[in-house]
Symmetry: C2
Subunit: 129 residues, 2 copies
């Protein structure tokens, strides 16, 4: 790895956000990691930082046992990629998710994601992870 | 950007693969970019390099007008992330896709991806890109 100190800090910020916001689905921790002008590209969430809090409250209410299991994460300058497995309940096949975050001034300023159902019995015996 | 020469080469390899393999859906160009021991994690494709060729032939036959429009791409060491928009025909809303590639010895050795339908009329007016 040839990461700069800035890149290492950007990656750590995102992993800390997973630990303190996404995994516990804790909307009260959002303001420590997410910039006031947060640009949300997720298609199911309402815009901005307040939309994210509402989304977290909604998923914690609906699926309190959900886990967000990070499989790999990368950083290139201001952008961090995370590939992870969401399981809503213990035997859930779940979703494969990739997120890209843009960091600005030490906060997460923008977010894109793609999510897909994990299937069983497809043509590829390899894990999606 | 603080990319090493090796990182720049890895990113360029993937972008060249998009230009010569994925965009033209050209299975005959696969062996120039994809390692013999290619590990495929896409859930819809058959395993390995031969499975990829079969998959490309299938999509070129089914959707000859398809475009793979790269929105952003990043590199961290041996791993490259690409976020792109697949449209199967001119007015297709299409799919949002993120790929992660692992490069080994100048070839693409492993691939993970996640894809999701682009929707209209959701709660977020922002583009998924």
């Amino acid at each position: 790895m040839n990461r700069t100190a800035g890149e290492a800090a950007n990656l750590q910020l995102v992993l800390d956000m997973f630990a303190h916001v996404l995994n516990p689905m804790d909307s009260s921790a959002v303001d420590r990691f997410i910039a006031p002008g947060y640009i949300q590209h997720n298609q199911a969430a309402e815009p901005g930082r307040e939309g994210l809090k509402k989304f977290l409250d909604m998923i914690r209410e609906a699926t309190p046992e959900a886990v967000h299991d990070v499989k790999r994460a990368f950083v290139d300058g201001d952008h961090v990629t995370v590939h992870y497995h969401v399981r809503r309940w213990p035997d859930d096949l779940g979703w494969a998710v990739m997120d890209i975050f843009r960091i600005e001034d030490g906060m997460i300023a923008e977010h894109w994601d793609v999510m897909q159902d994990v299937i069983e019995g497809g043509p590829n015996p390899a894990s999606p992870f």
